[in-house]
């Protein structure tokens, strides 16, 4: 479950640890585990908890956005250039709610890394059923 592909597993674990332990907003991802990463891709997992919810009792769309932002950035960092880039655009579609106790997967892929722009896509889904919770794209400037 904790294997990584493409680049050394330890390296990606370290990237995630570095991000989460900085004391900034990414501290809220402390429960996210990297399942595999490398060659522009990053698959992560976590269990939805009460602290991730909106007032309606399902996973907060703002938390989903944090997952999209950070896990796509980790995916980008496993690509050749190894840079995090700067966000230009993030777009998220919300397909289905997720509830406390549910295991979810965050599957981020680099679609293109050009000279100045990088394009990433992500699916957030339920681990057991495979049902999509959200799909998103993230455009970053890396020039």
């Amino acid at each position: 479950m904790a294997s990584t592909k493409g680049i050394a597993a330890g390296l990606v674990k370290n990237i995630m640890k570095y991000i989460v332990e900085g004391g900034g907003f990414d501290r809220l991802l402390e429960k996210v585990s990297i399942v595999s990463a490398g060659e522009g891709r990053c698959l992560a997992e976590m269990v939805v908890e009460d602290k991730h919810l909106n007032r309606g009792g399902s996973m907060h769309g703002g938390f989903t956005a944090l997952l999209v932002d950070t896990i796509t950035t980790v995916a980008l960092m496993t690509d050749g250039k190894g840079v995090p880039g700067v966000s230009v655009n993030m777009n998220i579609n919300y397909l289905k709610p997720a509830f406390p106790g549910e295991e979810i997967l965050i599957d981020a892929k680099t679609k293109r890394v050009g000279k100045t722009m990088a394009f990433l896509d992500v699916d957030v889904k339920k681990k057991v059923s495979g049902d999509l919770i959200a799909t998103g794209s993230h455009v970053k400037f890396i020039g």
Copy 2:
């Protein structure tokens, strides 16, 4: 600075208090103040702190997304129907970084409330210079 328009100031303050004190992900907005609200609009403000940052030292794009999500939802709740709705799509453009200590404004407007869909726009900007940090839109299902 703390006046509200359209609906009673106290009511909007209460909505925000209710959202933030629920113990869910919106607890991270505890430093956000409502400047004015009513008739489908909500203007809020806060000061960027270390805990809102990414590893690059500027306000995290995921935190911006949380602001966009929640403040547009408060704006929607001041509209006639008074419902929070369910997120369908959120799109955010990142124009300029914000840094610790900077005062920022989050200005959310309802563009349309139909029978089943609501459309909201938001500008996130620096209070002193007026420079845009981010612009975004949020589509919610309210049927």
Copy 3:
């Protein structure tokens, strides 16, 4: 090249013919061929011509948007409900330019069809190299 899966080939050809021959804006897709379609998916192809270009000499982003809009709608119509729906949001990322004479593929997939909302994704790519020209998502109301 002209086989369809999931529903009868002739039916999808007829849908496309019906759309293009209506005299509306879809007449501009007269050179698009359906490669395969069914079960919420539609794969189409065409060759870029001068009339599809912007002033810079590459395929116009507005034409790409037309491809995204219409081919995702055909994909949706091959799903169980068979309805075209009404557009709520369309988001497109532009990854690489396409030039006159290039064969391109438009690959649209239904990600979810709920009671009231449908979510579709699309890749527009070069047939020979597989390079992505654009990726997009389309949210439609089908209630």
Copy 4:
């Protein structure tokens, strides 16, 4: 009605004429008139005709996307740098249908022009009622 601000009226008319008469996809905007333009802004108008419709009888979302793409680009060209840029992301929300015979306004504004990226917003609305048909954003690379 045909006055322009910021830069010479004749110049913007010429830009639009240059774009439309190139024989490319922008030829489909031949009925669009520039109302005013300059300082990063462009206001245009047109009357919806049968050839702009989808099969449902309202203005085609792909045509709306063409309006968004091109009119924001003209707005950008009236800004200081005078360059059209290259599309990176386009996002459109569809609020209300428009019907044949209706006069519509396309109001595009430059939100930021940085060293490498430009951000534009647009409202498409009904001239008589002011009702919004669509709102959109367009991110362009201008480096």
